[in-house]
Amino acid sequence: MMQAEEAYINLYKQHAKSVSKSCSDLLNGKRQAAFEKFQTLGFPKNTHEEYRHCDLREALSIDYGLNINRVKIPINPHDVFSCDVPNLSTKLFFVVNDQFYKNDKPIGLPEGVLCGSLNDLTETHARLLEPYYTRLSEKSSDGMVSFNTTFAQDGFVLYVPAGVALEKPIQLIQVLHGTVDMMANRRLLIIVEEGAKAQFLVCDHALSSRYFFSNQVTEIFVGKNASLEYYDLEMDQPNITRVSNTLVSQAASSQLLINGVTLQNGLSRNNINLCFEGEGATASLSGMALGNGNELIDNHIFVDHAVPRCNSQELYKYVLDDCAKGVFGGRILVQKGAQKTFAYQSNKNLCFTKEARMFAKPQLEIYADDVKCSHGTATGQMDEKALFYMRSRGISESEARLLLKFAFTADVLDNIRLEPLKDRMRMLVEKRFRGELAKCAGCSATNCK
C-alpha cells in the first residue's frame, strides 16, 4: 500500500466519528462499506490501463487538510461572485470547497423541487433520496469514488419531481478557497423524475493559490421521458487537481445532454460513466479541453448500451499548446441484445507545439448484430493552407491562428442549447485563446481576490 493511502486510511480510522458527527444517517450509513472497498482498491495508479497517462502520485503526495470538523470557511461567495452571463437568469447556488453555502432566501422553485445541501436534504428527505444515494457509485471500481463515499460530508442535491419542468436553469458555482492546502470531497446528486425537465450548469473556480485536490462524485438519474441538460465548466488554476466521476443512469426515452468545457486548469481527470437502463433514450456527450502550460486534461467516457434502441453521440475536442497533455478514452459497450443501437464517437485534437501531447484511445465493443456504430479520432497540427490563405488576406499570423483555433472548437460550443451561455462561452474561449482570461472570469473577474 502506498503511503498516501495509508495516511488517509489512518485518518479515517482515527476520525470516523468526527466525519459522521454532523452528517445525516444516509451519508453515514454508506461509509463503512465504501471505506473497506477503498482499502482494497486504493487510489488509481498509472499502472492501471485507465490511468496510464494520468499520474496522480505527485498531486496525492501533498499533505492536504480535510475539513472534517466542518469549520466554516469565512467567505461569502455572493460578495465575490456575481455571475454576469448576460440574459442568463439562473437560480444560483454555491458550494465552498465541499460545503453547501447556506442562504436564508427562499429558492422560489416549484413545489416538490429540492435544491440545496446534500447533508441537510438527505436528513430531511431521507426516504426520498435513499434509493438514489450511492446506487451508481457502489458499482464503480474507481478508488476515488469509494474514497469520496467514505469522506463525503456535504454537497448538492437537485431533485425535480415527476412532470415538473424547471423554467430557469439551476447554476451551481463551486469555489475552492482556503489558506492551507486542502482536499474537498464533493458529492452531487441530481434526480430528474419521470417527464421532468431541468437545465443545470456547474462552474468550478478557485480563489486561492494553495494546492487543492477536489474529488467529486456526481450521480445523475434521468427518469422515463425526462430531459436534463448538464453543463460543466472548469476554469481554475494550475494548483488545482480535479478528479470528477459523473455516474449516470438513463431510463426509457429519456434525453440527456452533457457538455463539459475545461478552459483553464491544473490536472483534471473527468470520468463519465453512463448506462442506458431503459429503451429509446438519447445521450449527447460533448466536451472540449483547452490546454497550455503544463496542464493535463484527461476525459474518460464510458457509454454502456445495456438495452436496445438507444442513441449516444460523443464529440470531444482538444486544443493543446506549450507542454499541455490531453488524454481521451472513449469506450462504447453495446451489450448482447441491445439491437437498434446508434452510437457515434468523434475525437479531434490539435497540437500546436512539438511538446504538446495527445493520447487517444477509442474502444468499441459490440455484442449485438443490428446496430449502427462508428468512431473516429484524429490528431494533427494547424492547417497550413488555411493559415496561408488567411495571411494572404492581410490577417496577421497570430490572429489567423486564433481564428482557426476558435473555428476548431465551434461545433462543441454549438451543442450548448442555452443560448446566452453559448454566447458567453464563445467569448470566454476567445479570451482564453487571446491569453486575456483572468482567473475566474466566468463570473465577475474584477471582484476576484
Partner: protein, 251 residues
C-alpha cells in the same frame, strides 16, 4: 512602376521552378501570363504572395518601391497585393463575415485608420457582394465551405473588391467556371479597374482574355518568360497551341 521582378529564381523541395523571371508592370496595366502546364505560372503567384512552401534562391522583387520579398504574406496584402487562388481554401468554422472583418480591419490598422463600425462594415459587404452577384447566404457561411466551384471563384473576386488591392493576381480564375459565371467574374474584375490598379491574369485559355483585355501577354515556359507581345499573341496561341513556342525556345 508598380511591380518590378528582376532575375527571380525559386524552388520547392530543392527543385528549381522559376529560372530567372524578369517582368515590369506599371499602374493601370493588365498583363496576361500564359504557358503550358508546369511552366511555373502558379509558382510565380505563390512566390509573389509569400507562400512559405517556396524558397526564393535568387533575384529581387520591388513593389511600390519596397522590397516585397522581405515582407510577411500579411504585409504584402496590406501593401496592396492580392491573389485570387486557383484553389480557394475551405475554412470550416470561420464565417465569411468574421474572416472579412478581420482582414479589412487589419488593412485599416496598417494604414492607421480606425476599425469600421459594424454597420459600416455590413454596408461595405453588401455593396461589394453585388459586384459579383454573390449570394447573401454565402456571407454567413464558413469560408468557402460547401461552395460550388463557381461560388468559390466569385468569392475570391468579392474579397478582392473588399480589400481594394493595387495589384491583383488572378491565378486560373477561369478554371472550373461555366460561361455565365465566367462573365460575371470577368465583369466584376472590370468594374474594379481604375487607372491606378493593375492586374496579372494567369490563364491557359484565351477565353477569359475576351473579357479582361490585356495590354501585354507573356509566355512562361520552363521557368522563364520566353515571349512578350500584345493581346494578338493570346489569339495566336489559341489557334496554334504551344508547340511552336517550344520549338522556338529549343532552337
Amino acid at each position: 512602376m508598380l511591380l518590378e521582378i528582376k532575375n527571380l529564381h525559386a524552388s520547392i523541395e530543392g527543385k528549381e521552378i522559376l529560372r530567372g523571371i524578369n517582368l515590369s508592370i506599371n499602374e493601370g496595366e493588365i498583363h496576361a501570363i500564359m504557358g503550358p502546364n508546369g511552366s511555373g505560372k502558379s509558382t510565380l503567384s505563390a512566390v509573389l504572395t509569400g507562400n512559405p512552401a517556396y524558397e526564393v534562391t535568387d533575384g529581387e522583387v520591388w513593389f511600390r518601391g519596397k522590397n516585397l520579398l522581405s515582407m510577411s504574406p500579411e504585409d504584402r496584402s496590406r501593401e496592396g497585393l492580392f491573389l485570387s487562388f486557383q484553389y480557394p481554401v475551405e475554412i470550416p468554422g470561420v464565417s465569411m463575415v468574421n474572416f472579412m472583418r478581420s482582414a479589412v480591419n487589419e488593412h485599416r490598422k496598417y494604414r492607421q485608420e480606425s476599425a469600421l463600425s459594424a454597420s459600416d462594415f455590413l454596408k461595405l459587404m453588401r455593396e461589394k457582394r453585388s459586384i459579383v452577384e454573390l449570394d447573401s447566404k454565402l456571407a454567413n457561411r464558413s469560408v468557402n465551405e460547401g461552395f460550388s466551384g463557381g461560388e468559390k471563384k466569385k468569392n475570391e473576386i468579392f474579397q478582392m473588391a473588399m480589400l481594394d488591392p493595387k495589384l491583383s493576381i488572378l491565378d486560373e480564375t477561369d478554371s472550373g467556371l461555366d460561361i455565365d459565371a465566367l462573365r460575371i467574374v470577368a465583369q466584376g474584375v472590370n468594374k474594379l479597374r481604375t487607372p491606378q490598379n493593375s492586374t496579372i491574369v494567369i490563364t491557359h485559355y484565351q477565353r477569359l482574355l475576351d473579357y479582361i483585355v490585356p495590354d501585354q501577354v507573356h509566355i512562361l515556359y520552363k521557368g522563364r518568360i520566353v515571349k512578350t507581345a500584345g493581346r494578338e499573341l493570346a489569339i495566336d496561341l489559341e489557334e496554334r497551341g504551344y508547340d511552336w513556342i517550344k520549338q522556338e525556345v529549343e532552337e
